[in-house]
Amino acid sequence: MISQSWLSKGILIGLLAIASGAMGGITCAAEGSTPGSAPEPSAPSAAKAFAPPAEAAMPTNEFGKSIKLGEQIFTHTQEFAGKYVGNSLNCASCHLDAGRKPDSSPLWAAYLVYPAYRSKNGHVNSFAERLQGCFRYSMNGKAPPLGDPVLVALETYAFWLAQGAPVGEKLPGQGYPKLPAPALKADYTRGSQVYAQHCALCHAAHGQGQSSGGKAVFPPLWGAHSFNWGAGMGEIQNAAGFIKANMPLGLGNTLTDQQAWDVAMFMDSQERPQDPRFTGSVEATRAKYHDSPNSMYGERINGRVLGAP
């Protein structure tokens, strides 16, 4: 658990690091790529952009089977790792193209920056421990125990995707893009308008997503079936970077930075499952884990305190 000592020192950098943690964290150890100028989604343009191995190059031996399983878990998380999943999301909901896409917190880039010290939990995290955090927060489920075949397969898949990449380096496309601060403070009402115009077609009027044939197609963005308050996507700057680069699906980088900030703030100002680190008090939980302008946890929106049981 986090020692509060650093908090009491009031180190702003620490708070910002927390804010940028979590799901993105796979974004966490490093911030996004190029502030201000998010590359095109189709950006093999960046000369030194890393390209993970082609799908066809995946080995077919025993090792390859674990890679393949990791890929399947990543794209069909409920089907292949259901006992650790508590919502309708897949890993690939936020890490597009099966964890390959730059600026969508790609697995190959995350793999290179672990082990890493994380202020989120105050110690050096292995890559596997980082994956546990994804299940606990972003998947609103249970952390698979270390050594569990689910974690082994995911780590194997990430290792394979990172073949040939420089260990320890933050590559272009790592994490989500870090947008410059918005010209106007992110605003709920403007965000709701952006949402209605650009997001609701797929994610539905109340953020509940849409399913078909019993499977989630458009992921729920808030509510009982979405990520919980401990997830990195619940922090406005992560969501804004992801949205700017990747949303609407197929139309990445068409929203302005301001629209991305506004709609991220709107999405992250809704009810969602409780932070599993909940201390019993919203105020205390905010102070300990969400004391950042990028978290709306514990704030009052439309007459309700977000995160209140």
Binding site: P41, E55, L201, C202, S211, G213, K215, L249, G250, L251
Partner: protein
């Protein structure tokens, strides 16, 4: 006290009646529309609209050889929207435009309702194949897209197996290959309106003719012998 209770219960009884009548009226209206739709679909109209089933099949299953689309089980709002687009010329079709123009707005809604209520053709799968190789272009684009070009997978919007999602994203599963191909080319040529958020023109700009044929073949062949399931498109 008892008076108050009596008042409340009589009020709620009244409310129940209103609800029951309203539901009953809605059900009756729906049944009327359904009958009107069935008549148009199976017999055409006196004004000269041909029976839909003469091209789209007796069960709305479409006609693979001619490339006439499946209508059975397709969302009613989607279908009536397309009929309106034919009627006002936004969606081009020398076959459909005259018929759509001859139908009243109510007629278009009724016939759309009729076909939406028919079961989708037997054998439509709700799942994509699991063992897909990148060399299988159609299956790969359908399930994984081509993200180095920013191209999402078809299934990311049209659902598992392409069974369709909600009002906006129609089923691809069980549509004739020739129909899927002609529609994708239609967006390239401007013969189909851009549609919601102009998503499809961006998609087709990233597809080659080879891609289009492969995707069409994937979805047309998706209707196998088992796993019949209705496209639900329910909100979660």
């Amino acid at each position: 006290m008892s008076g108050a209770v009596g008042k409340v219960s009589s009020r709620s009884a009244f409310a129940m009646c209103v609800v029951t009548i309203a539901v009953g009226m809605a059900a009756t209206a729906r049944a009327d529309d359904m009958m009107a739709g069935k008549t148009i679909a199976t017999q055409g109209t006196a004004k000269g609209v041909a029976a839909c089933i003469s091209c789209h099949g007796g069960k709305g299953e479409g006609n693979a050889a001619a490339g006439f689309p499946r209508l059975a089980g397709v969302n009613a709002s989607y279908l009536s929207g397309q009929l309106s687009a034919f009627a006002n010329g936004e969606r081009q079709s020398t076959i459909m435009q005259p018929f759509a123009k001859l139908l009243s707005s109510n007629g278009r809604s009724a016939v759309a309702l009729y076909f939406s209520a028919l079961p989708p053709p037997a054998g439509i799968k709700t799942n994509d194949r699991t063992a897909i190789k990148p060399s299988d272009i159609g299956a790969w684009i359908a399930t994984r897209g081509r993200w180095d070009q920013g191209l999402p997978a078809c299934a990311q919007c049209h659902g598992p197996g392409g069974i369709g999602v909600g009002v906006t994203f129609p089923p691809l599963a069980g549509q004739p290959a020739a129909y899927i191909e002609s529609q994708l080319h239609g967006w390239k040529k401007g013969a189909r309106p851009p549609g919601p958020m102009a998503l499809m023109p961006v998609i087709v700009s990233k597809l080659s003719d080879t891609d289009i044929s492969a995707i069409a073949a994937y979805y047309a062949g998706n209707a196998g012998p088992s796993d019949n399931a209705a496209p639900t498109g329910s909100k979660q």
